[in-house]
Symmetry: C2
Subunit: 358 residues, 2 copies
DNA sequence: CTGTTAGCGCGTTCAC
DNA sequence: GTGAACGCGCTAACAG
């Protein structure tokens, strides 16, 4: 008696493995084995079964399969939003690699809200995903670390592997994999690029104190200044979020002060760069003629506006996350792991040598 | 005997409803009822149970729940890719609305390959998703329609609702919901905008014959030309795909012919517009001073390049898809449904009145 | 090589 | 208000 809420129609009930077995005149075990393909079987029975499968248009019930002990064959990814290019590219990598391993992708967004993150991880836990991948910039305080450790253990107990993407590792006693990219190195390279062109006053746009990605980038910026013997003027470090609008606002506010006291801009990401660029143009300042600029991420806006930026391997980040999680499956390995992906500068047309105002 | 491939550790086996029942000193039925919350129960037992749940950090097994007849509480979405802003925004809408209905989102990408689409829909069928949402521009030939009808019936039999997003409806006998936006109307408005500024030679960049979205848009373009009494020069309709690079290539090739024989450009989408714009600049042609341009979609590149374009409610598309699918759940309604979402022009700064070359 | 059987964890009848 | 028992569809032992 199917409980489907159909309109009382004959409702050709979904075919089960039993129907296939009956149609083929064999037992359900035989059908199961033949479909799994990991067991020897007589070609004749095989043909009969496959024909029945085709005729009934049978597909296995994923839930029944997952329940009976096999893996759920799903990878879960949790991120702030899908429309941000940053997350979208990581998600694409995850999705690609998951498909490559014949797995489906569960996706959940949090809008950056810890409560929704908690709720989402809970749902993922119910789903028994092979891996749960958390993506995104975050404040790595004790509170956060405690929360992640909880997730890690809970997921581990449920048979899932927690993976942190673009977030710092948690320590050797927490069963989580961390995959990051080198923010400090990339920022160092980008800043050096500006410094070597003679720029001394470089505006850092979009620092978010506490956020690990931001801290990594600004550290690279400061290191480079130090290496070039340029003193670090804190007034050049502007705090703000990572959106395009914020880039616009920050630059607007800065320009309202009067003639720019900087010759170059290091935008914390490409979106900020795009916003700042717009603000500059509204003040008749052109890039790179009047002001030089570098961004970070090498995502869509960058190419459109000819921005020299730091390329971050977002898709590879996602692929690596899945690969690592699946590699240790069945291995019994449950400790911590940490991978750091490299970055490199992409030179376009937003930087010119500084004009010596001797 | 848990079959988890653990490293032989004590491996605190995932808590089941039985464990909770034991800890609370009640039966599993009581636990089930209290957690579902749709049944009267003594406050005392309730407290005991909830405490046990908290202590064991119990979460229900989604597969067992789905198997035992309840809904799977998931919405599936199938699209070409996640990194395209178009799909990303629709996906965001789907994801938002799904979360709003307390559902998780399964996602699959096809890269536009029908075989992968087939495989993905199959997987979704195994998952028993409440709805399976197919997104994206497509050639609506008989072959396609037959394939969709098959999907629709197979999914319907499995208890899932097929939803077509940005694709034409299939006919009243096919159990599918279609949600589209008005391509022809938007293109008509955009073209009229150019025509009313005196442009007569408008280059249409990126027509893909057969693709429904493209056919809709070029129809609007042609209708507007006709309405303004401008003859339709087929040489102005350039065929191409919808990527940025293609926009660049198409414009490059056109400009190689010599002085432009057009004063305005209608790009089939914003990405094409961005590419074409770059090509124009390389030939020292500026927008809007030398050439006017409109795009379509109103997605990220548009704002960055100050493009006048047609706003398409992508997120609303996704939200509507989920809402409609869930609305008819249990209704027994299994017929076809069709919704058309409106569009409107967003004026920025890429259009100037045409120069009369009298 | 194939059939029989016992769970997987949960919702849900029935009785009490 | 609560407990016992059955079945969802499938996989994996164990026989034959």
């Amino acid at each position: 008696m199917p409980r489907r809420a159909d309109a009382g129609e004959p409702a050709t009930r979904r075919a089960t493995i039993r129907d296939v077995a009956a149609a083929a005149g064999v037992s359900i075990a035989t059908v199961s084995r033949i479909l799994a393909g990991n067991y020897p079987s007589a070609p004749a029975t095989r043909t009969k079964v496959m024909r029945a499968v085709r005729e009934l248009d049978y597909v296995a019930n994923a839930h029944a399969r997952a329940l009976s002990g096999a893996t759920s064959k799903t990878i879960a990814i949790v991120l702030n939003s899908v429309i941000s290019p940053y997350y979208a590219h990581v998600a694409q990598g995850v999705q690609t690699q998951a498909a490559h391993h014949d797995r489906l992708c569960l996706i959940g967004t949090t809008g950056g809200d810890p409560d929704r993150e908690l709720a989402t991880v809970r749902l993922m836990r119910e789903e028994h995903a092979d891996a749960v991948i958390l993506v995104g910039n975050v404040v790595a305080n004790d509170d956060y670390r405690a929360r992640m450790a909880e997730y890690a253990h809970a997921l581990s107990a449920a048979g899932s592997q927690l993976v942190l993407c673009g977030r710092p590792p948690l320590g050797r006693d927490v069963p989580a994999i961390a995959v990051e990219f080198d923010n400090t190195g990339g920022a160092y390279a980008a800043t050096s690029h500006l410094l070597s062109q003679g720029h001394q006053r470089i505006l850092y746009l979009g620092h978010r104190p506490g956020y690990t990605t931001s801290e990594g980038r600004i550290a690279g910026y400061r290191n480079a200044l130090a290496a070039f013997g340029v003193s670090n003027d804190l007034d050049l470090e502007v705090e703000g979020t990572l959106e395009r609008n914020e880039g616009y606002r920050m630059m607007k506010r800065r320009l309202a002060r009067g003639t720019p006291d900087f010759t170059a801009v290091f935008a914390a990401n490409d979106q900020i760069a795009a916003g700042a660029r717009q603000a500059l143009r509204e003040h008749d300042l052109r890039i790179p003629d009047d002001i030089s600029m570098v961004g970070y991420d090498d995502l869509p806006p960058a190419e459109d506006i000819g921005l020299t930026t730091v390329h971050v391997p977002h898709e590879e980040l996602g692929r690596t996350a899945v690969r690592l999680a699946l590699e240790r499956e069945g291995t019994g390995a449950t400790g911590a792991a940490h991978v750091m992906l490299g970055t490199h500068i992409v030179v376009r047309d937003s930087v010119r040598p500084a004009v010596r105002k001797a």
